[in-house]
Amino acid sequence: MVKRLRDFTLDLTLSAKPGQITVLMGLNGSGKSTTLNIIAGLLQPDTASITLNGECLCGTREGVDMPAEDRRIGYVLQNPAVFPHMTVRDNVAFGLRARHLPRKVISERIDSWLERMHIAGLDGVKAGSLSGGQKQRVALARALATEPVLLMLDEPFTALDAESTQTAKDLTRRFVRDMNIPCILVTHRVTDSEEIGDRACVLCQGRMEWEGVPGAMPALCTVCRCT
């Protein structure tokens, strides 16, 4: 994908394997979130060829640009954006109702995901009153309940305390393996990358500067030559 940004041009080739977590790292403003937004269909690239399970989501050469709502990507943004005026249950149901699934299926999936995320007791609670960790789990349950074919998480652990971070990491890892879907995780913390990632990519000024096993990653500033 190529996208001309204010300070640099994002020019990137990226692949993510099913059942694996690909960690996208880089300093602030290196193009990590922009990459996710382009894959999700929230941002228009200048040129791109994005395929998911063999299906073309965006191909400038072919003139294909699938709308974000049809891409079947579970995307948890930096702000988990749980809808504060809805209950936890309605939040998890949002994507299922938007896709017009049968009521029985919706109800079963909600119960199942609330249980798996350990938030079953919160189903009637207004989401606006939840803690940061609970919101993160609701956002993850909401994204996974739609059974996406790709999961993308943008800095999901930034606002969490140590315990919630560990829980969120464990849950993410388990569900990516169980559902056998590719996951792209954006973070700027090396520890996150090492603990949860199967593969790490370091972005600098819109270009891939390093790619490999997280444990073997050199210090960010050495890779990026930025500071």
Partner: protein, 274 residues
């Protein structure tokens, strides 16, 4: 031994409190006394007798009907307008922004003259409407148009600011979950901005109800057709029936006060939610 209240620090503090007290009392009295005078000037008998006056009833109904229509139009047209205006870039957006704010600083009488010049019987557009037998000026429709022109900025500004302040992550998340733009607007954007929108609508209602200058210029002052409550106050106080003028004034004060209380309650609830 020097008394405690005369010690230097306490003395200064007392002076500050005294100055603050005088200033607060002066401003409060300046704002409250005229309102109080209105209530003192009219006895309950006079008030309830005047309430049955046909001119009062007619002005009251006309005001409520026209203001309700104004509010409905402003909400139905203004909400999607403000949404699209915030979400999309287009040429001349800055000019549109300025035009939205213009009625707030434009003298209402000038707004009325401008509407008359455009839609009057010999106006730039009005003459063509007139050819088809459609007359706008000096009708109830003109009252509504004048109210929309003068009061709509209160709602549009509020809606614009709410849509701009809403974190795009909410709408983006809804989109990635499979929601269409309309579903996102209905289930996410509007509920998350509802409190502020209602507050803007209430302010618009209040401004439209009190509209005088643009209405008298563009719609005239015809009892039962264009004579709204503020115009009836003017006619009453000119000498035809002072009691009617005073009674309608008291009604307007009560309505305005209620509006302010509603807005305050909404703001308090919103602050509690945040």
């Amino acid at each position: 031994m020097i008394p405690r209240f005369l010690r230097r620090k306490n003395y200064r503090q007392s002076l500050t409190y005294l100055a603050a007290g005088i200033l607060i009392a002066a401003v409060t009295l300046y704002l409250a006394l005229p309102i109080l005078a209105l209530f003192l000037r009219v006895t309950p008998e006079m008030f309830f007798t005047a309430l049955h006056d046909p001119d009062v009833i007619s002005a009251l109904w006309l005001s409520l009907i026209t203001t309700s229509i104004t509010l409905a139009v402003v909400i139905l047209v203004g909400t999607p307008f403000a949404y699209f205006h915030c979400r999309y870039s287009y040429p001349g957006k800055v000019i549109v922004d300025t035009l939205i704010d213009l009625p707030l600083v434009l003298p209402p009488a000038v707004a009325g003259v401008a509407l008359l010049v455009l839609y009057g019987r010999v106006g730039i557009l009005g003459r063509y409407f007139n050819m088809f037998g459609i007359s706008i000026a000096f009708t109830t429709l003109a009252v509504v148009m004048a109210q929309i022109f003068v009061a709509s900025p209160f709602y549009l500004r509020q809606a614009k600011s709410l849509f701009e302040q809403l974190d795009p992550a909410y709408e983006q998340t809804a989109q990635t979950l499979g929601a269409s733009s309309l579903r996102t607007l209905a289930l996410v954007t509007l509920p998350m901005t509802a409190g502020g929108l209602v507050s803007g609508a209430v302010m618009t209602f209040g401004r439209a109800l009190g509209e005088f200058g643009a209405t008298i210029m563009f719609a005239g002052n015809l009892p039962g057709v264009t004579q709204t409550m503020p115009l009836a106050v003017y006619v009453g106080m000119e000498g035809s029936n002072i009691n009617v003028g005073l009674t309608i004034s008291i009604l307007l004060v009560i309505i305005s006060f209620t509006i302010m209380i509603i807005v305050r309650l909404i703001q308090k609830r919103e602050a509690g939610r945040a």
